[in-house]
């Protein structure tokens, strides 16, 4: 497409964003978005893509730089200002009020965007949009009852409802099934064809090549290249994304991993039999899941977000009571026992959220070491008395052996970067010498190198003899590290795959219910 005769809808000029604490998220980024085009913003996690669109959507303020809408300089003090200029962000994790209905959410947003729409009018418009785009949704459904894909639909409806001329889609495909991805890509196309400017953020090359006219690549906060699709080459895009040296390093990591010794599989360390678990809003989220895991084995659990993985994980670690079924760990029935029973058996737990679930914010790494080991036999606790000196030594050991970048064991857990936090957490769990390690999305939000470090650590632990259950939304990750993969859909284990994996079959199983 020739953009020469068109004025850009949105122009970002020399945008720099430095977070308090000195992290440079964007450095001197300039970008134009034209009407009728899809621009893919490509880059790995932590490259600064989300920061950039958040600035464009008024969620955060740039440290330096200018935003122009249709050539006119604007200053956004709030997302409302951006919405009123016709800019809508579809965030990676939908920003909806759970206890509101779909309609209530939409009315709220359209009012904030300055539209004088009443409740009745919004309901009417929804019907029109359903006809035009095929986005059907029950307006009186509560958001908490919706699947991830449906919530994303609501987000897109928001953008359409406020008649946005610029739509920013932040990693919209992360939690979608392949069929849903196809639908989303054609919808994206439709939005652009109607004259909107669409920014499509992704870290997946294939999607960028499928949907976009132009591909902008970001690396470490900078915009490194903008290429049009017809001139784009995969190798070249990869080197833009990671840099030559990094690609070399990553290939070596993977090569080294392939040569890692594998442990000998022996006893069953985890057995789950016909497990039923209720979700936070009543109905069953896990419906009769069964699986077995042996020592020194890595078992991946694949599935699209919201298919019961979280409840399954919570039941396994003992913080959500199953309704029926059986969980046995290292030969002990722990179905209806709490997490301390797991702790005593030496189960390592790596939860999905680092702060608040794995670590206590505002407390030191020493404190967090004691917390993690609280019910483990390896805890620096004797007769209920905490041996703080021993705990300190443990924290120091973890920091040293896993190369955690932290000022010291007394540093506030909150002050660490995501990758360092996760290494500390993994190191702490390995201190238990676990017979079983339960991990959920352990690399989410980490940049590629930090993620690879975590995967290496998991594999080394499996080689030592621990059984590892890895629940992950990242199918590539599962294929990379698992010995076996089961697929969870609608709370059931619907498919089991062995090496070498047939990825198409797994992806298909993820979407069939």
């Amino acid at each position: 497409m020739n953009n020469g005769d068109k004025r850009p809808l949105l122009s970002l000029r020399n945008i720099t964003k430095i977070y308090p604490g000195g992290v440079v998220a964007n450095k001197d980024v300039s970008l134009d978005i034209y009407p009728g085009e899809v621009l893919a913003l490509l880059g790995e996690n932590g490259a600064g893509k989300t920061t950039l669109v958040s600035i464009a959507a008024g969620l955060i303020k740039p440290t330096e730089g200018q935003i122009l809408v249709r050539g006119e300089p604007v200053i956004f003090n709030s997302p409302r200002d951006a919405m009123r200029k016709g800019i809508a962000l579809v965030p990676q994790n939908p920003m909806l009020i759970d206890n509101f209905t779909v309609l209530e959410n939409l009315v709220l947003v359209s009012r904030l965007a300055g539209k004088r729409h009443g409740i009745r009018l919004v309901r009417k418009q929804l019907e029109d949009l359903e006809k035009k785009y095929g986005l059907s949704i029950n307006p009186s459904a509560y958001v908490w009852s919706l699947s991830f894909g449906e919530r994303q639909k609501v987000e897109i409806l928001k953008a359409l409802l406020i008649d946005a001329s610029i739509v920013l889609l932040d990693e919209p495909t992360t939690h979608l099934s392949p069929i849903e991805v196809d639908k989303l890509l054609s919808l994206t196309r439709q939005l652009a064809d109607e004259g909107r400017g669409v920014v499509f953020i992704t870290h997946r090359l294939s999607e960028a090549l499928r949907v976009a006219e132009r591909i902008a690549v970001m690396r470490r906060g900078r915009l490194v290249a903008i290429v049009s699709r017809k001139d784009a080459h995969v190798d070249q895009l990869l080197s833009y994304m990671f840099g030559e040296e990094r690609i070399k390093r990553l290939t070596e990591i993977v090569k080294r991993r392939r040569s890692l010794p594998r442990g000998v599989r022996k006893d069953i360390v985890l057995r789950v039999n016909d497990l039923w678990v209720r979700g936070p809003h009543g109905g069953f989220s896990v419906r009769g899941a069964s699986l077995e895991l042996r020592s020194a084995e890595v078992l991946g659990v694949a599935g699209i977000a919201g298919n019961g993985q979280r409840e399954f994980f919570e039941a396994l670690i003992g913080i959500r009571k199953p309704s029926r079924g059986m969980i046995s760990i290292c030969g002990t029935d722990v179905t209806f026992r709490d997490s301390s029973a797991r702790g005593r058996l030496g189960v390592g737990i790596i939860p999905e959220d680092r702060l608040g679930w794995a670590l206590v914010p505002g407390k030191s790494l020493v404190f967090n070491t004691v917390l993690g080991l609280y019910s483990s036999p390896k805890a620096p606790i004797r007769f209920s008395i905490v041996d703080w000196r021993a705990a300190r030594k443990m924290a120091e050991n973890i920091i040293r052996s896993l190369e955690v970048k932290a000022p010291g064991p007394d540093a506030n857990a909150e002050s660490l970067s995501g990758g360092n936090m996760q290494r500390f957490i993994v190191g702490r769990e390995l201190y238990k010498l676990p017979c079983l390690l339960l991990a959920m999305n352990p690399t989410s939000g980490l940049d590629v190198e930090a993620a690879e470090r975590i995967r290496d650590l998991l594999l080394e632990e499996a080689a030592r003899g621990a059984g590892i259950l890895l629940i992950s939304e990242d199918l590539d990750e599962l294929v990379e590290v698992s010995d076996r993969i089961v697929v969870m859909s609608r709370g059931r284990i619907v498919y089991e795959a062995h090496r070498p994996f047939n990825i198409d079959k797994i992806a298909e199983a993820m979407t069939v219910s």
Binding site: R342, I349, K363, V370, S375, S376, I385, V386, D410
Partner: protein, 335 residues
């Protein structure tokens, strides 16, 4: 920087600034009392520095500090009970009942038993609040408050009914043999506060308590029982407050009288002291002394026409000022 050290340093800076600020505010308010700012500050100072104020403060220190040090523990766990008031009262009732109606004579053993029994009843009352919260999800602020009013009702029922002695609504005074000295009462409370501090710093329950408040899910995941932690905290808090009530009866009150809706107020002052002391039992002891001194100043100030409610407002201003400056300096510390 070291998180623990930083917290203490910034907390201390906030405390000093807050106290200075509250002196300023109270001077301004004092200028409206009819004495003028200068007159008020003179009287305030002379009353503050008089020996009488300090010695008469110590009896109040006993129930306030007992409430405050236990509440510090509860608030650390995010268990916002305000039930110390009722527990102090029922502690006093329990001590009176055991000593006067059951044992009937005074001795070291009898007095010890009475105080321990007071603690036990306080613990039960606290445990009731904790149990309602853990078992039925009842908001502890409200249930503890309702229980405070019920405690007032119990005292008023007893002194106007089965335990009434003479024409007034009050019980017979305890004979002198059934008493403890001021120093003993203070010592009991200080030791209790010290034990609580050690409990927080050195036992695993300290880790549990902080984790439950700051990251409930993390606590749950790594084997800390939320319900049991809250119950333990509720029981301990009630126990210490109950002991304070027992010691108060045996040392100062000596008899029970009918109570107004405001209650005795010691448990409520303990709430302020607990926050003022930075949610640490030792800090709460120090803050309780400050609050007890202010409380005992009210009689001196009353002679000059400053009403005792003014002292209450003053206490609130001190807490608010300290709260403002500690919050501000802590926030600066995070940057």
């Amino acid at each position: 920087m070291n998180t623990r050290l930083r917290g203490v340093i910034y907390g201390a800076i906030g405390l000093v600034l807050g106290l200075l600020f509250s002196v300023l505010v109270s001077l301004i308010l004092g200028s409206f009392t009819g004495l003028g700012a200068l007159g008020f500050s003179k009287i305030f100072l002379s009353s503050l520095l008089s020996k009488d104020t300090w010695t008469s403060a110590l009896p109040y220190f006993v129930p306030i500090a007992a409430s405050a040090s236990g509440l510090a523990l509860a608030y650390r766990a995010g268990f916002i009970t305000i039930g110390a008031e009722g527990q102090v009262m029922l502690g006093a009732v329990a001590a009176y009942w055991l000593l006067y109606y059951v044992i009937g004579h005074g001795s070291v053993a009898a007095v010890t038993a009475a105080i321990l029994f007071a603690g036990l009843v306080g613990a039960l009352y606290g445990g009731l609040v904790g149990g309602l919260r853990v078992g039925l999800g009842v908001n502890e602020i409200l249930s503890s408050l309702m229980l405070n009013y019920i405690a007032i009702g119990i005292v008023n029922y007893l002194v106007a009914g089965p335990w009434q002695q003479g024409g007034y609504t009050r019980t017979a005074p305890l004979p002198p043999s059934m008493s403890i000295g001021l120093s003993a009462a203070v010592l009991i409370v200080v030791i209790a506060g010290l034990l609580l501090e050690l409990f927080i710093v050195f036992t695993k329950y300290g880790v549990a308590i902080d984790s439950v408040r700051l990251a409930r899910k993390a606590a749950q995941t790594y084997g800390i029982g939320i319900a049991s932690t809250i119950l333990i905290v509720a029981l301990i808090q009630g126990f210490v407050a109950g002991i304070g009530g027992g010691a108060l009866l045996l040392q100062l009150l000596r008899q029970l009288r009918s109570v107004g809706l405001g209650g005795w107020g010691y448990g409520y002052m303990g709430i302020l002291a607990a926050w003022l002391g930075g949610l640490r039992p030792l800090g709460a002891l120090a803050a309780s002394l400050l609050i007890a001194i202010l409380y005992s100043m009210r009689s001196t100030l009353q002679l000059y026409g400053v009403s005792d409610s003014f002292v209450l407002a003053l206490e609130a201003i001190i807490v608010l000022s300290v709260l403002a400056f500690t919050t501000l300096s802590m926030r600066r510390g995070e940057r």
